[in-house]
Symmetry: D2
Subunit: 325 residues, 4 copies
């Protein structure tokens, strides 16, 4: 007898990826889907390849007053929309919010599942990290915990595939001809992901994240995030690797790799690949992290968090190998 | 207790995709992998994201004399190599050959699983169709069976992603800078896939496939095959759709769609999407078919065939939704 | 003393490419630009790399009543818009219309410049062929003129980069995430380019184009068109090549090639590459043609036509080599 | 009467782009081409779209002993090859070396043309900067000269299209299927471009470039380089812009832009776009720079340097607009 789950925001990329993962999850039964632009359609009209068992599910208009009974609700709504949309959901309904409105909000666990699963496991409300924080914080956590780097003046240079920018507003400017074969920085100096990154750095290190720098870049590919993070610290490369391997020894989705990581290693999976290169002479530690922005950066980590709060094996429905090439 | 399977040709794209599918197959246990260019490496060295349960499996050099006991062997070797390589495999070992050497060879079933599963089910040796035949024949089968088109003078114009050209010889010419943002026809007038297409057309129709035309084109994307097939016949569009829906009513992987199909609908799955557009005034029937060349065009159909010959549910390990976007 | 030219529809891809070509044309001076979505902006705001000599030109709102005196007006407006927009332009102002509204309309020459330049040279109004007709007709013209193929039952399978679909209406559906790594057919059975293709086939052959079939496909790349054309005829490959070489012996932009053509050979230029493969046994002639849809398929051919009607060397401003890789 | 030029290394991307630019240069006549992998072929066999005036030029095997008389030789050979290959060229023959062997070598000017054209103008031997230094140094030069940033501890995070990795050795690993839809860092901690970057920083600032960090990343696109450079300094954004606008006021190829730059703005041209974002509170100055790695990063800057040493207008043959979209 399955766990009854629903998805609101089914039209976005995060919602669509949640659908894919939930469809082959051994314990989750998708019984409800809602989306703004597609209410009234069947799932198969929006997702021609959706498994036949789900094909006829009709997408609803979101109305918390008429929600069926759900064990877990996955929300993947644009930033600014989620807070209001979820405010009337029954207090005892578990929610994993892939969107940004509930991160570090009282009553919501910050769902950095690979780092503090125990803080998530008995929660009712989980705020999934943003995709850039997911990539970045996984790489930094061991180094901060082991004091191998300073928590301040960290420079994060992130490169993201285009699906990292969602489906709505922002995405409408990503016409193929303007975006293909093109690369650009955006969100200079301040970006909506910075607060959660700074707070987590401080939580993990006990120090100050002052001087944090974060620059995202749009890359002409569909999926994938690579964070190249420049930190101050006198650690050696070996010390960084040892730290990360210890920190994540029991965590099923983190792979520490000596080869510089490639985004494609993670595509279609909930994996993160971490690597390090340090030069004590320059007081420099470079941390690198790749994830699939829709996997570990959104729906993958959301399902992982849902597994945690439902008391399921953490890897349930998430053990598929990456899609290569 | 799992079914013991092996893969020879693990370094190629077909072998890699077989690995991905087998890794999450509920009944198959991968106990053996062999590959020319990677013997001695562990699977995780070649496939950084491979599930940890398989990470330490060491890739062997192919030697049929020292094969472990396997229930099914998947072979994904270049054309011309497979015949000799598999000739010494114990006669009772089930083999699904993704490569081309055994198609329409005595003792081997031609593995067009969606069309004649019953002819495959009790076989020991199955020759997987090539990716272009897989796409093409699925679309044509109903029309040929129902005599809605003539079997002769069929014109097949195929467009394929670059992974449809394998990893060895031919692929070495596909350097990124030469291939990106570029499209070209190749294999004009005759192509290695034509004989199996012609034979199957004749088998399905009882008529002659004389005048068959087939032109493949390389498209700058990794996965995906679209076949646009121009046939002679006086059928209407409705008749074609009705025929296909009847023919595939019980087949789990074939989706008949009124919307013109997009290759991405199938990416990462074993699905095929078929569509039709006919104009009796021009005695014209256009059949369209999309598959993932590594899915239905190679490893997906191979696993489907293996399920059939092992008496497993046909969809075992193949019910994952396509990866989108 | 330059020839005063203007561009209306500067915001579209055809208009933008016309700008690029005119900017380095030895005889054309761009003195006027108009565009719907960008009126009031300077050219450099829309085209950051525009040569400094043109940077400050302000884009006007289109108003034929207040047109400055121009020697040639290039129009690149969406189909359906051009007819009305150009109706009030002074009768003696030369116009080259890249859009579709004036093809085969009385008073307008059909600007198939590589085939009948003499019919264009003394005109005042030229309707540029569509990009698919430009590719297709160049390949067919010699074979039709030399009666090497039948004019009827020609099957044209065209593959186009995304910029072939313009900037407005249709393009808004080409979001990057939906379009990247994806291929699809569209415009099945009838397409707006068919009438001009059929008329030209009949004009060139003196026969009937009945049974014409045309299927375009969207390909995930920015520029490039490849037409693979299946014709009936008993000619040999050598006869086709000899015919094309003779027909285009003096035409500067047509390259007849024995190697199957690649779209990238033409990118950024006004070149067309043609090739042929025939099999008399199957009464089959395959003609192949590649162009840059914004070059020979739009602005390149427009500038070539403008050169013709202005009595300039045909290659003026069009002798740049393709951009490779 | 043209200036007689030759290209050695015609098979590489730099050599091919030099061919394109020289072919439409008003003063340069290409009379000699040599290449390792293509000796004996005609230019049109290697470059199907090469202008007909150059089509029949036969590619020679490189032999300095049998060089014709040339005014300028462009060399685009792999690093490590150039030094020996050019060592026997007549001392009075002008050479512009696109490759890396002569940068900051006695007797060779470092060809940072937009920054110190006067140091290049009367030279016989010019070493073109590498593509990453070309992008980086153009952005930093004004800030270093005006002491708006510290010369030490500069962090350069560079993203490059695949043609930035050349044609030989390194490029053979860039197979399409491995490279498409993938992003990865490489050359961690030390890269061959670092010495010339460090030396130039010191030359421009009079200070020490100690602590320089440089990390390149491969991006799935053909052309384009974006450098995101993190510097220490208390300058404001406005001060940075004012500095750059002053510094480059008379330089024809540098565009200072308030909008974050996109690589595609430069594609196919010799332009560089620079932008800045600073936050005095964090003692942070971010400089951004985009170029076409084959334009300003190789052949474009090489032609610009050749114009300088030949006493031609600097923009000769380089005023073409970028190719968009």
């Amino acid at each position: 007898m399955g766990i009854r789950v629903g998805i609101v925001g089914i039209s976005g990329f995060g919602g669509g990826e949640a659908l894919r993962l939930i469809a082959s999850h051994p314990s989750f039964d998708l019984v409800y889907a809602a989306g703004e632009g597609s209410a009234g359609s069947r799932l198969v009209d929006r997702f021609p390849g959706v498994p036949s068992t789900l094909a006829e599910l009709v997408i609803q208009e979101w109305n918390p007053a008429t929600l069926p009974q759900l064990d877990v609700l996955f929300a993947s709504l644009p930033t600014g929309i989620s807070a209001e949309a979820l405010s009337c959901v029954p207090k005892d309904m578990k929610i994993v919010d892939i969107g940004g409105d509930h991160r570090y909000v009282d009553g919501w666990a910050y769902g950095l599942a690979d780092v503090w699963p125990q803080q998530i496991a008995d929660q009712v409300r989980v705020a999934n990290p943003g995709c850039f924080p997911a990539a970045t914080l996984n790489a930094l956590a061991p180094l901060l915990a082991d004091k191998l780097i300073e928590p301040g003046n960290i420079v994060i240079d992130v490169k993201t595939g285009i699906s990292g920018a969602g489906r709505g507003g922002a995405n409408s400017q990503f016409s193929y001809a303007d975006t293909n074969e093109n690369l650009q920085p955006y969100g200079l100096l301040k970006h909506v992901h910075m607060p959660e990154i700074a707070k987590t750095i401080e939580k993990l290190s006990g120090g100050s994240a002052a001087g944090l720098v974060f620059t995202p870049h749009l890359v002409p590919m569909t999926r994938g995030v690579l964070a190249t993070i420049y930190c101050r610290g006198g650690a050696t490369t070996d010390q960084c690797f040892a730290s990360a391997r210890r920190f994540y020894a029991k965590r099923p989705f983190i792979r520490v790799t000596e080869r510089p990581p490639q985004t494609k290693w993670a595509t279609g999976s909930n994996l993160a690949f971490l690597s390090y290169a340090a030069d004590p002479e320059r007081n420099l530690v470079i941390a690198m992290s790749v994830i699939d922005n829709l996997g570990k950066g959104a729906a993958g980590q959301a399902v992982q968090n849902a597994n945690l709060i439902c008391g399921l094996p953490e890897t349930a429905g998430l053990d598929g190998a990456p899609v290569w090439p």
